[in-house]
Subunit: 486 residues, 2 copies
C-alpha cells in the first residue's frame, strides 16, 4: 500500500514512462522495495535492480521490453525467484519484469492432453487444477509448490519424476514469446507435437531468459497412472546403493523416480520439518517409485526388492498407503532446505554423469570434501545420473564461501571428467559460467553466443549469464554498457 | 570400375581439387554417373549436381566443405536419398557430399544405453547389431531397412513406434557436426541427457541439412520390451475407427504404435508384396501394438478390445505369434510403395493434427479428393495425429501432377486449419516451402532464417530448402548465386 502512493513521486523519466505502461501501482523503484529482488535462490551474489515492473498481459510485457530496447535499459524476466544458479539476478542493474501477476490458467483441453498457462502460474497449481479429472503435469522440481512454469521453461526444470517422464522441454508444446526487440511471436502449436522448421521451442526452453520472455505456455498434461508403488531401501555402503541403481535400470525397469541420499543428507532431512525416522547409521538410502497400469506394478516391485537384496540392502520396505508414501516424499523434497538444520549455509551443485560412473564420482566428491575440509551431502536423482552435492559451509568464517565455491567447481569438474556435464536442471546462470569451459570448446561456446546474438543483439536482455565472460565481445559489450551507465 | 578410370580425366579444377581430398575413386562428375543423384524420394523435382563426393571420415568432410566454402561452390549432404520432401535435391547444382561410405557402428555402451554411429549407418542395422543383447533403436521410419541415421537426424524422422517412444530428436544424445565453414564441433555429450547452454542438439536435429553436416551421432538405445501384443481391428466406418483411436488414448493407454489405413490404402497394400487378406469392403483398419512388462499387457489388450467393440468394430483379433505380427507389420510398412500397385504415380503428404480433429480432417481430405477427382488413400500414425494422405495420379496425363500437388497443399491447409501442422516426419524440403506460411507468420519465419544465417551465412549449404522463397534476402542471394554460376 505504502509503495503505491510513492510510485508517482519520482523525477526519473524511465520510471515514469514504465509506470505509464503498467500503471503506477505496478512499479517498484525505492531501494527498500528492491532489496528482495537483488538476488534469487543463488544468494551468494546480489545486485540492485533499477526497478521492478509487474505487467498484467503480453502487450504490457512487449511495451516494457520495447521501451527498454529503445532506451538502452538492461532488463530481465523473473518468476518466483527460486532459481538456484542466479539467472534472475540483475547483474547490470536491470529493469526486472516480474511475471507473477500473469498467473492465469487460460485453457485446459483434456481430449488433446494439454493446458495453456501464463508464465507466473505456479507449477503445482496445474496438477491441483486437473487432478480431480485424473490428470497431472509431470515436471516436479522440489520447489514446485511455489516456482512458476515460466521459470521452469527458462531453466528447463527437472524433478524427481523426470527419470521416466522427462524434463520440462519434453512437456512444452507451444510458447508465446516477447523477443528482446519487443515483438510477440508464437513458437510451436497447441495440440501437436511436431512443427516444421527449426526447433525454436527447444532452443528457447532452457535458454535461461537470454533469448526472449515467455508470456504464454502450452504444456502437455498426463493421465494419472493407475497405480503407484514406492520403495524405501537402506544400505550400509554407498557403493551397494549406487550399484542397485544401475541394476534396476539394467533390468529394463524405468522407475518414475529413483532418488538417493547419503548419510549427511539423511542427517539433514531427519533434523528438518519432515523426519521419517531413517536409521542414523546407514550410508545411503534409495527412494524408488514405479507407476503405471496396476497389473505390471507388482512384478516390478518384486524385481526391485530382488536387486536390493543382491546388493546387500540392510532393510527395504514398500509404502503401505498414500500417507506413508507422501511422508517419504515430503522428507525427500525438503532435502535442500533441510541442510539449514545442520549447517549455517550450503551451496547446492547440479552435475550430470553417465549412470555407470556413479560410484567413482561419489568417491571423487568425497575426496573434494576431504581436501577442502567441508562436509558435502549428496541428495540426488540417481536414476538419471543427476547429482546434487550440497556443500555445507559457514559464510561468517572468512574464506569459507570461496572455499565452498571452489569445492562446487571441483565437483563439477569431476562430473565433466566422468563424461558428464555441469548442470542437470538448475541452469548455468551466473554460478557456473566459467565451468561451461569444462564441457565446451571456445568454438562451441561461440556457436551458442552467435545464436544469442540473433535474438538478443544488443545484450540488453539478461546479459552476463550462461556463458563465460572472458575473451568474448558479447560480454565486453555488456560490461561496457554497464560501466557507461554507472 | 568404369567411372574410376575416368575420374582423373577432367579439366575442371574444382573436381581435381575435390579428388585430391577424397581420392579420385571417390568423386563422380560424369553426367551418366550423376543422374541418380538428381533427385531423392521426392521425385517430382530434379536437378543435376556438379559432382558427388564420398568422404570416408570427418576430416575429409570438413576439407570438402572448406574447399566449397572457399570457392563459393554450393554443397549439400546426402544419406540414402530416401527423403520424401526433396531435402537432398541439388537445386543449385550443388557438390553432393554423400555419407554412405561413413557407415560404421563405432561404439556400443550397453550399461549407459547408447551407441555411436557414423551418419551413413543404416537405421535397421543398429537394432540388428544389438538385438541379441536385448536392445534396440526405437525410431523406425518405414524406410528403415535402407535409410541412414544421418538422414534421420536431418529430417527428425519418425515412424510407427514413435507414439510411445518419440521421434529421432528424443533419441539423440550427441552429434559431431561440420559447420558450413568447415569447422568440426561437438554438440551434446555421450552418456548424459542434459547439457548446459542452448539446445543446439535439438536445433540441428530436424534442420534438414541446412545448418551443418552431421558426421557422428550418439543415440540412445532401449531395452527390448518384455512382451509385445498386436491387435488388428476392422471397421465399417472411418469415423468409428477414428473415435476408437481417441478412446484408446483417453483410457490412459499409450500404445507403442497405433496405425490406421483406409479403404484405398488397404486396396493398395493387398495388391502389393505382403498381402494379409484384409476384407475388401471395410472402410478402415487399425493396427495397434502395446508393449512393456508382461504383467500389464493383457489388461491393456482387454481395454483395447473393449473400446473397439464399443465403436462398432466388425471384427478384431490379436496376433497369435511373432510370425503373424511380422506379417501385419510388413503389410503396413510397405504401404507407401504399395500405392504403385494401384496407381502409376502417387504423392505422399505428411500433416499433423490434434488427435481429436481426426474425423473432421479425414472428411475434409475426402472433399479434396472429390474436388480434384484424384483418389486419396490414407495410411497413417493415427495415435499421434500424423496423417499421410497418398494422392494417386498419373504423371503422363497433362496437368495431373500439378493437380496432385494442389491436392496435397489443400490437405496440408486442412491440417493447419484444424490447428495442426504441415509435416510430422518427412520434412519441408522443397516440397512444402510455401506451405510454411500456413503455420508461420513472416516474423516467425524470419526468426528461423536469422538462425540459419548464424550457421550458414553464405547460403552455400543446401540453399533454397525449408523456407518459402519470396521476399527473403536469403533465397534471393541463393538465386543470384545460382544465376551467376549458370
Amino acid at each position: 500500500m505504502f509503495r503505491r502512493k510513492k510510485a508517482l513521486k519520482t523525477e526519473d523519466t524511465h520510471i515514469k514512462q514504465l509506470a505509464d505502461i503498467v500503471g503506477p501501482k505496478e512499479v517498484l523503484f525505492h531501494k527498500e522495495d528492491l532489496i528482495s529482488y537483488e538476488s534469487d535462490g543463488f544468494t551468494i551474489h546480489s545486485h540492485m535492480p533499477k526497478a521492478v515492473v509487474f505487467p498484467k498481459n503480453t502487450e504490457e510485457v512487449a511495451a516494457v521490453v520495447k521501451y527498454c530496447a529503445d532506451h538502452d535499459l538492461p532488463f530481465l524476466a523473473r518468476g518466483a525467484g527460486t532459481g538456484l544458479s542466479g539467472g534472475a539476478i540483475p547483474l547490470n542493474g536491470e529493469v526486472i519484469i516480474s511475471l507473477v501477476k500473469m498467473k492465469r490458467l487460460l485453457h485446459v483441453d483434456l481430449e488433446n492432453r494439454q493446458a495453456v498457462v501464463e508464465p507466473g502460474y505456479v507449477n503445482l497449481k496445474l496438477t491441483h487444477s486437473i487432478s480431480d479429472k485424473g490428470y497431472y503435469y509431470a515436471p516436479d522440481p522440489s520447489s514446485q509448490y511455489c516456482c512458476t512454469i515460466g521459470g521452469n521453461v527458462a531453466e528447463n526444470a527437472g524433478g524427481a519424476h523426470c527419470l521416466k517422464y522427462g524434463v520440462t522441454t519434453n512437456h512444452i508444446l507451444g510458447l508465446e514469446v516477447v523477443t528482446p526487440a519487443g515483438d510477440i511471436i508464437e513458437i510451436g502449436r497447441e495440440g501437436i507435437a511436431d512443427v516444421p522448421g527449426y526447433d525454436l521451442l527447444g532452443l528457447i526452453t532452457g535458454s535461461e531468459g537470454t533469448l526472449g520472455i515467455v508470456t504464454k505456455i502450452t504444456v502437455r498434461i498426463l493421465k494419472n497412472p493407475e497405480e503407484k508403488q514406492t520403495v524405501l531401501a537402506y544400505f550400509d555402503r554407498v557403493e551397494d546403493g549406487s550399484r542397485a541403481v544401475s541394476d534396476i535400470v539394467s533390468r529394463g525397469i524405468v522407475p518414475a523416480a529413483l532418488e538417493m541420499m547419503d548419510k549427511i543428507a539423511i542427517e539433514g532431512v531427519e533434523a528438518a520439518a519432515f523426519p521419517v525416522g531413517h536409521p542414523k547409521d546407514i550410508e545411503a538410502l534409495l527412494l524408488i517409485e514405479v507407476d503405471g497400469i496396476s497389473a505390471g506394478i507388482e512384478e516390478q516391485i518384486d524385481d526391485i526388492l530382488d536387486v536390493c537384496k543382491k546388493r546387500n540392502v540392510r532393510s527395504v520396505k514398500v509404502a503401505q498407503d498414500e500417507k506413508e508414501r507422501a511422508k517419504w516424499w515430503a522428507n525427500r523434497k525438503t532435502g535442500f532446505g533441510a541442510m539449514g538444520a545442520i549447517s549455517p549455509d550450503y551451496l547446492v551443485q547440479d552435475g550430470v554423469i553417465p549412470r555407470s560412473t556413479l560410484p567413482q564420482v561419489l568417491q571423487k566428491i568425497n575426496e573434494v570434501s576431504q581436501e577442502t575440509g567441508l562436509r558435502i551431502a549428496n541428495i540426488f536423482h540417481a536414476g538419471d545420473g543427476n547429482l546434487h552435492p550440497l556443500i555445507l559451509f559457514d559464510a561468517r568464517v572468512p574464506g569459507e564461501t570461496e572455499k565452498a565455491l571452489e569445492a562446487g567447481s571441483k565437483c563439477l569438474q569431476a562430473c565433466a571428467d566422468a563424461g558428464g556435464s555441469i548442470t542437470g536442471e538448475h541452469g548455468v546462470g551466473i554460478e557456473k559460467r566459467e565451468e561451461m569451459r569444462f564441457v565446451f570448446t571456445d568454438q562451441e561456446i561461440q556457436a551458442q553466443t552467435d545464436v544469442r546474438e540473433v535474438f538478443n543483439p544488443h545484450y540488453l536482455l539478461n546479459a552476463g549469464k550462461l556463458f563465460p565472460s572472458s575473451g568474448r565481445c558479447a560480454e565486453i559489450k555488456a560490461e561496457q554498457k554497464k560501466a557507461a551507465s554507472e
